[in-house]
């Protein structure tokens, strides 16, 4: 793997303490990676112990200058110091993951970041449109016009006209003449006929004979109201033996 790219490596100036500054790093990992690269070996060959030493020394230097050190740098320092002690102390067979494994993971992280850094640099260095290669200055352009192909069935057309006509036709209300018996007629007819009937007589026998069912219904309704009116006036007596039973009437005594 080629990690020796021409990536603009941040120069390390540990010797020049006056420029020691944490502002330039994008976090502890960035600082670690740059320290690792200062070991001048393939990143796969770096010494994690030496790297930890470098990091701690760097922070110590910054502290000596009374620079503000962001918390995440200190957390990393604490974690690295812990890692260092684990690496140096006699191995604890119970430790999981082992210090070596943790160190390997840290190394993988550095490799990963370094790889992405290099990839970014190589991407930017490619032949880029507008910088290295150019598109046609004034393309005619492709145009797409949409032409609607209108569809309507003849039935829809005629139905639409029918709907318009139906909707807008002047509304006409015609009441057909109907055969009815008025209430006055019924009162007159019942009081005339009751005069001679002293026995209980069914209401139906007061209705005129007619083939027209509408007229019969009208006569029944009117006659019913008529006998109620006559009963109110005390001119007839009404009787009904049970609900919905025969309505009987006779002349009031």
């Amino acid at each position: 793997m080629d990690f020796d790219s021409d990536f603009d490596e941040r120069p390390l100036r540990q010797s020049d303490e006056l420029t020691l500054n944490l502002d330039g790093w994008e976090g502890p990992l960035d600082l670690l990676l740059n320290l690792a690269r200062s070991q001048k070996v393939d990143l796969t060959q770096i010494s994690i112990l030496a790297l930890v030493e470098q990091y701690l020394a760097y922070l110590a230097g910054a502290r000596a200058l009374k620079l503000e050190i962001a918390a995440d740098y200190l957390v990393m320092a604490a974690w690295l110091a812990y890692l260092k002690s684990c690496l140096l102390l006699p191995r604890d067979p119970e430790a999981d993951p082992s210090p070596e494994e943790i160190a390997l993971r840290l190394q993988m992280r550095l490799l990963r970041l370094d790889a992405m850094r290099e990839a970014g640099a190589r991407l930017l260095g490619r032949d880029r449109i507008g910088r290295d290669v150019f598109l046609r200055g004034s393309p005619e352009g492709l145009r797409q016009t949409r032409k609607a192909h209108w569809q309507v069935r003849d039935f829809d057309l005629f139905a639409a006209y029918g709907a318009v006509k139906a909707r807008t036709a002047p509304a006409m209300h015609v009441v057909h003449p109907r055969a009815v018996m008025t209430l006055d007629e019924a009162i007159e007819r019942v009081s005339r006929m009751i005069g001679s009937a002293l026995d209980w007589t069914r209401l139906e026998s007061f209705l005129p004979a007619s083939q027209d069912p509408q007229y019969r219904r009208s006569a029944l309704a009117s006659s019913f109201v008529a006998i109620l009116e006559l009963a109110r006036q005390g001119r007839v007596d009404l009787a009904q033996e049970q609900p919905f039973g025969q309505l009987l009437l006779r002349s009031a005594a």
């Binding site: 200055g137 609607a148 209108w150 309507v152 807008t168």
Partner: protein
């Protein structure tokens, strides 16, 4: 055509947003026989899909004029006529020539500008002069294409009102039911207020 100078002239002309004079080209590609390179390119491109042309001393690339039709593509899509447009078309067919105001009076609803445009776009309706009278309104009538589309020999082949009635197309039942329902709703809404 592998000659470096000609390649440079070609690329410069291609990337330029405007036609270039040989002098302008030279500013990019440096000393050399720009005119000769242009002539060579013109020959290389002759008969291809792209050509290199000179207009008033300026050179540019363009697509071959005989292929211009490819660049403008029309896509046909089938679309159903809206209800408003269908009704308007029917009214024009039965009453032509008819003005917009008359169409609206018959429909009982206003029509939008787009509705008549759609019918004219479809080729079924045409302007048919103006009616002499107040406002000289523009009149509309149907076209031959209209008759063709609906398989009608002439306007006399349109079903008459009696035919429509016989077919139940004048049955106001649905409409009145809809209306009375609508009315009920309006009333109940009014009561709620």
């Amino acid at each position: 055509m592998r000659d470096e100078f000609t390649r440079s002239v070609e690329a410069t002309l291609f990337a330029s947003a405007e036609p270039l004079t040989p002098e302008q080209i030279a500013e990019h590609v440096g000393e050399g026989d720009v005119a000769g390179a242009l002539a060579g390119l013109a020959q290389t491109y002759a008969g291809r899909g792209i050509e290199i042309v000179e207009r008033g001393g300026r050179w540019h690339f363009q697509t071959a004029p005989d292929l211009a039709h490819l660049l403008r593509r029309t896509r046909e899509e089938t679309r159903r006529l809206s209800r408003a447009a269908t009704e308007t078309l029917a009214i024009i067919a039965y009453h032509e020539p008819v003005s917009r105001a008359e169409i609206e009076a018959i429909r009982g609803v206003q029509i939008s500008k787009g509705t008549l445009d759609v019918l004219m776009d479809a080729g079924w309706v045409r302007p048919a002069g103006r009616r002499e009278g107040p406002g000289r309104p523009l009149l509309y009538a149907t076209t031959q294409d209209f008759l063709g589309h609906f398989g009608l020999g002439s306007r006399r082949d349109l079903p008459g009102i009696d035919d429509l009635k016989a077919a139940g197309l004048l049955d106001p039942l649905d409409e009145s039911v809809m209306e009375s329902l609508g009315q009920l709703q309006l009333e109940s809404e009014a009561e709620e207020d």
